[in-house]
């Protein structure tokens, strides 16, 4: 983890993992916050209400008015706001999302309305527990007078799925509550990408500008850029995780200057789903390639190993392949956000976005021969 500094600033966890095994009681008996339990004491922790890298299955068993049906490692279970907040109290994360009733992007209007209603109700319950938790932590602080007071910040969940109206309603109510930030939920859940900007805008127009907004579950860099332009502040790292799982090394240029350098490098093999934004290390073309994953990348994997070695590790199904790829991909992804921050600070965000999008579209204009060979066929099962 330390190898990802200074770009990495916070670690995201799924609060649901701590409902049962390890349970809140177990964490409490440990006597310290989740940071210490997970062996990451120097990292701020953000607890989400779901795992953005996993597609949740909406089974026949679903949530009801009092609880979410969550699929845990130990099986499915009902999670009420009280149970959820017990876990949060034990974890003491720096930030967390209140319990939410998630629905897929194509949920029917009635179900969407229901999810907004339930989430509002649960937000209020979570807020009550939150206040009680703060009292308790204050008490502890006075008793022990030891380390700095943990002060978990509650983010309200804004729902609404594919309905602009419901998005507005959910956002308005959430904005009235005394919360530290907002989590725009239900994106990356099967809704059409084209509809997303309007849905986000519908919610954002009612949210205060001085509080952070997080969105989890977006897939591509382009989607992230759109969300940034609209005013989202925090994103997850599911994209590099998915890339790693499929043996890809991210290499999309982060700056226009980099692009020129890359064009001088070999073209990637389009037949295997690669393009100039990512390399498919499974491809035989890397068998004897002594170069690092990405020339000039300062990550641990690129400084110490070659494409040929990564290729070999993948083909022999060795764990080290995903260790190294995840390091590189996460490093690259975080570098992307660094570039975005620079662009905003220089007042150049729109130009950056325009350049980035045009670059990707440019890839679609391939020479005739390659189109026949099946370029563009390279659609991996998970959108990358």
């Amino acid at each position: 983890m330390d190898k990802l500094r200074p770009d990495a600033q916070m670690v995201q966890i799924n609060a649901m993992q701590f409902i049962h095994l390890p349970s809140p009681d177990i964490i409490k008996s440990f006597g310290r916050s989740v940071h210490h339990y997970l062996g990451i004491p120097s990292w701020p922790v953000f607890a989400s209400n779901r795992d953005p890298t996993m597609a949740e299955y909406f089974s026949a068993k679903s949530s009801n008015n009092t609880a979410v049906y969550a699929t845990l490692y130990t099986g499915g279970t009902q999670v009420t706001p009280e149970r959820y907040m017990q876990a949060i109290a034990a974890l003491q994360p720096d930030m967390y999302v209140a319990l939410a009733d998630e629905v897929p992007g194509d949920a029917r209007p009635k179900r969407v309305g229901q999810s907004v209603d339930r989430t509002i109700k649960w937000l209020d319950e979570c807020l009550q527990h939150h206040q009680a938790m703060q009292q308790q932590l204050l008490q502890q602080q006075q008793d022990e007078a030891a380390a700095p007071l943990p002060d978990p910040q509650l983010f309200a969940a804004v729902m609404g799925a594919g309905s602009e109206q419901e998005r507005q309603r959910s956002a308005k109510v959430a904005a009235e509550r005394d919360v530290a930030g907002f989590a725009l939920c239900g994106f990356g859940m099967g809704e059409p990408a084209a509809a997303r900007p309007a849905l986000m805008a519908a919610a954002l127009q009612h949210l205060p500008a001085d509080k952070p907004r997080v969105v989890v579950g977006l897939a591509t860099p382009e989607e992230v850029l759109e969300a940034v332009a609209q005013g989202i502040d925090l994103f997850d790292c599911s994209y590099p995780t998915h890339a790693t799982a499929q043996g890809y090394a991210l290499c999309f240029p982060l700056q226009p200057q980099q692009e020129q350098q890359q064009q001088q490098q070999e073209c990637a093999d389009a037949d295997c789903g690669a393009d100039d934004s990512k390399l498919n290390l499974w491809s035989l073309q890397y068998r004897t390639d002594k170069r690092p994953l990405v020339q000039g990348c300062s990550c641990f994997a690129c400084r110490n190993h070659s494409r040929a070695y990564l290729h070999h590790l993948l083909h022999t199904h060795e764990m080290l392949a995903s260790v190294l790829l995840e390091l590189h991909n996460t490093h690259w992804w975080l570098g992307f956000f660094g570039a975005i921050q620079e662009a905003i600070q220089a007042g150049q965000l729109q130009q950056y976005i325009a350049w980035f999008k045009q670059r990707r579209q440019g890839l679609q204009q391939l020479p005739e021969g390659l189109i026949e060979a099946g370029a563009g066929k390279g659609q991996s099962w998970h959108k990358l």
Binding site: L21, P22, F30, A308, M319, V323
Partner: protein
């Protein structure tokens, strides 16, 4: 590295008294001895290792999930690469084109490759041994293939490890046909000669013979005689692949360690249980390899002085202690048994890396403690304390009591059983030493 006491000890002893040897690609120098045990430095082309030494196995060019940097942090001196696996993928020509195995995987320290023969016999259904070599069905396309001594060395030359193993005629320990063991003994020597002749890089890569002879004292003696005559830089004690009883096992190690030249390293192949390593080191062996510590980690089993800790056991769900309070490895400094229990029970493969890290740290720590004990002339006390920890009720197995008696270490007060062997009658060539 050496304590003041040791340095003094060595200065007062004439260094000519301490065994050593010098070969083109290996210099071995014993630093201290106690009983049959010794601690030494072994200078290899890529690294100077210290013995007794445990070598983790990086089968396919990686030690299961650990980075090269972590392996160095863990104080590993030499790691193993499997010729059979690497010979398949990525193949010797590719590794050679990459500058050798060291360069390909970016491991700067010592490397040892086995011959490929053992995996063939154990992994492949239709492996068959003839004078020519080991014939087998290719795992890739089922075609008939042959691994000869020449080819094994050819592949190993391409891989470029500091130490290569000869292709030997491996007889399963469960075989009861003495004639087969005899055939294997002689054939191994003939194959050694072919390996030596085929070695294209004798000044950069060491070639170790492997002593055979099954469980027959005179066959072992004969094998040693023949192999020693080839004046190799070091020797391995083979044929202890599993299937034999511990009783048979220690006797072979005792006989061979005593019979091999004192100035050269002695490598017992396939040994990884901490208890076995301690006993073999006491008997005079120097090098060990095994997948055990790294493999058992992937089942959630952590190694500790008292034995093993099965982290998947529900008892650990609420145990907030580290695996081992006396261990200073990253896993023990940062993680609790409770956390490890929860992540290993979910089958998250990267969770096993944390246990792997600890287990490698444990093995390196164990061999470090053994080396230090020999340097400080307190191996018997160390051994007794270790066994007391592992067998608090005194039920040390008979084989351990017997083996350590031959090693010159008494377990009086530690073990309920008394030595009950007749080793010195069975192996007249080995001189008795008193047990202290």
């Amino acid at each position: 590295m050496l304590s003041k006491a040791c340095r003094r000890g060595i200065v007062t002893m004439a260094s000519a008294e301490l065994p050593s040897s010098s070969s083109p690609a290996l210099q071995f120098q014993v630093l201290a001895q106690q009983g049959r045990a010794r601690t030494a430095t072994m200078k290899l082309p890529h690294y100077t290792a210290e013995t007794p030494m445990f070598m983790p196995v990086g089968t396919q060019g990686t030690v299961k999930g650990l980075t090269s940097e972590q392996m160095q942090e863990l104080d590993c001196h030499v790691i193993l690469g499997n010729t059979y696996h690497l010979g398949n993928r990525p193949g010797p020509e590719l590794v050679a084109a990459m500058g050798g195995l060291h360069s390909f995987i970016n491991w700067p320290r010592g490397m040892l490759t086995d011959s490929g023969g053992f995996q063939m016999v154990s992994l492949l259904h239709l492996a068959d041994i003839t004078e020519e070599g080991v014939t087998f069905q290719s795992p890739v396309d089922g075609s008939r293939m042959l691994l000869t001594p020449e080819e094994s060395i050819g592949i190993q030359n391409d891989l470029g490890a500091d130490i290569m193993m000869q292709l030997d005629d491996v007889v399963p320990a469960t075989n009861t046909d003495l004639a087969r063991f005899e055939e294997a003994t002689h054939r191994t020597t003939r194959w050694l000669d072919r390996c030596i002749a085929a070695n294209k890089r004798p000044h950069e890569q060491n070639l170790f013979p492997i002593v055979q002879g099954g469980f027959d004292v005179s066959l072992r003696q004969l094998s040693m005689q023949q192999l020693i005559a080839r004046n190799a830089p070091g020797y391995a004690i083979g044929g202890l692949a599993g299937g034999e009883t511990k009783d048979m096992f220690w006797r072979v190690v005792a006989q061979c360690a005593a019979g091999l030249p004192p100035g050269k390293p002695r490598y017992v192949m396939g040994i990884g249980y901490p208890l076995d390593i301690l006993v073999c080191s006491a008997l005079g062996a120097d090098m060990y390899d095994s997948v055990y510590p790294t493999r058992t980690a992937r089942f959630g089993v952590a190694l500790v002085d008292t034995g093993v800790m099965k982290l998947k056991n529900a008892a650990f769900a609420k145990d907030m202690r580290p695996i081992d309070e006396s261990c200073s490895c990253m896993t023990c400094r940062q993680y609790t048994r409770s956390y490890l229990h929860h992540v290993v029970t979910r089958g998250i493969s990267s969770a096993s890396i944390l246990v792997t890290y600890h287990n490698v740290a444990y093995m390196q720590g164990l061999t470090r403690r053994i080396r230090q004990a020999i340097k400080e002339q307190r191996l018997p006390d160390f051994t007794r304390a270790f066994l007391t920890g592992m067998f608090p009720a005194g039920n040390v197995p008979q084989w351990v009591v017997d083996a350590l008696d031959v090693a010159g270490i008494s377990l009086e007060g530690v073990a309920k059983l008394k030595p009950a062997h007749s080793f010195y009658e069975e192996v007249q060539a080995v001189q008795r030493i008193p047990a202290v």
